[in-house]
Symmetry: C2
Subunit: 264 residues, 2 copies
Amino acid sequence: MLTIVKIGGNVIDDPRLLHRFLVDWAAVTGPKLLVHGGGKIASAIGQRLGIEPKMVDGRRITDAETLEVVTMVYGGLVNKNIVALLQALGNNAIGLTGADANIIKAEKRPVKTIDYGFVGDVKGPESINAKALDAILQAGFSPVVAPLTHDCNGSLLNTNADTVASVLAVAMAEKYKVQLLYCFEKKGVLRDAADENSVVEKLTPESYSLMKDSGQVYAGMLPKLDNAFATLQSGVSIVKIGQSEDVLAMAEGKPAGTTIALEA
Amino acid sequence: MLTIVKIGGNVIDDPRLLHRFLVDWAAVTGPKLLVHGGGKIASAIGQRLGIEPKMVDGRRITDAETLEVVTMVYGGLVNKNIVALLQALGNNAIGLTGADANIIKAEKRPVKTIDYGFVGDVKGPESINAKALDAILQAGFSPVVAPLTHDCNGSLLNTNADTVASVLAVAMAEKYKVQLLYCFEKKGVLRDAADENSVVEKLTPESYSLMKDSGQVYAGMLPKLDNAFATLQSGVSIVKIGQSEDVLAMAEGKPAGTTIALEA
């Protein structure tokens, strides 16, 4: 079983939470691959450099200067610090962007109403160099992947980390049994947004449909969950959503987080 | 033959020269490994962030803030842009710091008269994870190595790129026949510093000694050349010094640069 985990800003921006996560991640057995987002550090560094973050509909507009910042922060500062910490914890981590070994090809998003700048759309699992990733895993390394992709013409592109994780999972599912774990700020999908402990153990297309109708899941959760179901339909064996503190339990199949399932 | 090349600021800071070098580097046949320095970009970014570069005896003092800057710039901006450009040129590059696959262990320099901060000293070839590098080369990847090392306790350290190149060369010489090419701003060691074309074809310990006595080589060249001779004595087969424009000729054994040799 290949375990792929995605962590986001809530973990990366909190040194205590990040350290706890990395200790648990180092303890996960078997081949594994970590995808990280960028967090607020990119905006903070950008602002110190005099570059104001430009967001449209919750997405960062990546102009040339911003691309430099995310390359520095995601590919350098965040990625290499995670790698060094994991190595100190005994995990044989190797930090990669989509350009390294050309593991993730993308296309610069075409300009329609909004020019997102240097943002990369990954077409699908065929954009992943699964052979290279397999060679890296076979050599005993644990990839730590920054959400930067390659236009195959020498330019890096900024890509959503959730997307990177799911496309990697689908591509690797051709050879491996894959479990994909999304860590976010909640313990899982909640029956009641006000009750942290109302975690839905298992979400099927039927229960998801009911929860959408009742308004129990909404906004930012919808693309995450749509994406999770699509990933299962594309051959990934297990998909779970939960908090980073539960990563070890989720990876080991203990009750934790919400399991996304095609059948009840 | 494993070819190891080190490029410095004069190439990295000049997009035209960098592109020309990368085209040639992509054309070098056989297993290869590129070590790059940082150039002036780290100082420029640091200054924009309000961090003044602190130099003592030509060495950067690496406080915690400066370590963040060099991690971003060397490990992110410079390294990943080189990797993306090389991938576009058909070279299967993979960007690494000393923390990735723990390839370069170092010790934080002890404080004597000067506190260099987060600067790493590499003990010797035993600090190199040659097995990991060999696995990466065997998998068909060309490492691009940033001058950052790992204290094995979760912290990156800033290390001189010339040192990184020479220690890597010596460590890899256990398994490979290695040629080590240092690219700098001159065509080679010059008989006459004022005459760009007075390149010494071959420098032996005897001719080096004479040139030191006559003052033809001095200052910054001395540690470079001392280091080059030591590398040969430690098992590296070929060491040359020349300009980046001649990297292909040097790699292919055509007349270019200065060959450092133990015998005439």
